[in-house]
């Protein structure tokens, strides 16, 4: 089986996902995209013959850190007086 083509496609997908994570307007989409980068990275580790690292990345690097991100976004929304989302807050000029 041609591993090269599959890893190339995975790499392109990962780069597209990281681009979305940097530039998308909505914060929640950015966080989901970060999680997806981790998931694709985990498949790439399997192709690189590293199942231990793949399992760690799937469980910790992609899973638990996404969950912590969402908890923090939720508490930021709760603490804000008007209940704005975290991506709406920084648009206000703070002078």
């Amino acid at each position: 089986m041609e591993f090269k083509i599959i890893t190339t496609l995975l790499g392109i997908l990962m780069l597209a996902m990281s681009f979305i994570a940097i530039y998308h307007k909505k914060m929640i989409v950015a966080v989901i995209a970060t999680g997806a980068v981790g998931l694709f990275a985990s498949i790439m580790y399997l192709f690189l013959a590293a199942p231990d690292v793949a399992m760690t990345e799937a469980a910790i690097g992609s899973g638990l850190s996404t969950i912590i991100f969402f908890y923090v976004l939720n508490r930021i929304r709760q603490n804000d007086k008007e209940g704005r989302e975290s991506d709406e807050i920084d648009e206000i000029p703070n002078k």
Binding site: F3, K4, T7, T8, L10, G11, M14, L15, S18, F19, A21, I22, M27, A30, V31, T34, V37, G38, A41, M44, Y45, F47, L48, A49, A50, P51, D52, V53, T56, E57, I60, G61, L64, S65, I68, F69, V72, L73, R75, I76, N79, D80, K81, S86, D87, I89, D90, I92, N94
Partner: protein, 118 residues
């Protein structure tokens, strides 16, 4: 194959660095750090890859004879395993700081935290 993955890793490192330096929102900067982490891990694992090597788990009889020429390098993998867990700790800590800063100033914009600027 290792060339492709190492290139991907370096490009993701650059993307993360770009996000850290140009974005204004604190959470977005933390996402940049997270991407940077992932890129470094990919680079390290692809450096450990040996052509034709299999995963360093010896669950078959034929792997036990002359092991060193059949498996990929286990040491960088162990290091990356450690690094991922520490990365989670660092991310959690940074997010806690961001949350605390938002509680103090009601803002997530990095430009509004200039108390230490002279």
């Amino acid at each position: 194959m290792e060339y492709i993955t190492i290139t991907t890793g370096f490009l993701i490192i650059l993307a993360g660095l770009w996000a850290i330096m140009t974005r204004k929102n604190l959470i977005r900067i933390i996402i940049g750090f997270s991407l940077f982490d992932t890129g470094i891990h990919i680079v390290m694992v692809s450096m450990a890859f040996v052509k034709g090597g299999v995963a360093p788990i010896l669950d078959k009889k034929e792997l036990l004879t002359d092991t060193a020429h059949k498996i990929v390098d286990p040491v960088p993998q162990a290091l990356v395993l450690t690094a991922i867990v520490i990365g989670l700790g660092v991310t959690a800590l940074m997010l806690a700081y961001a949350m605390r800063l938002h509680q103090e100033k009601k803002s997530l914009d990095i430009e509004s935290f200039k108390d230490l600027k002279w």
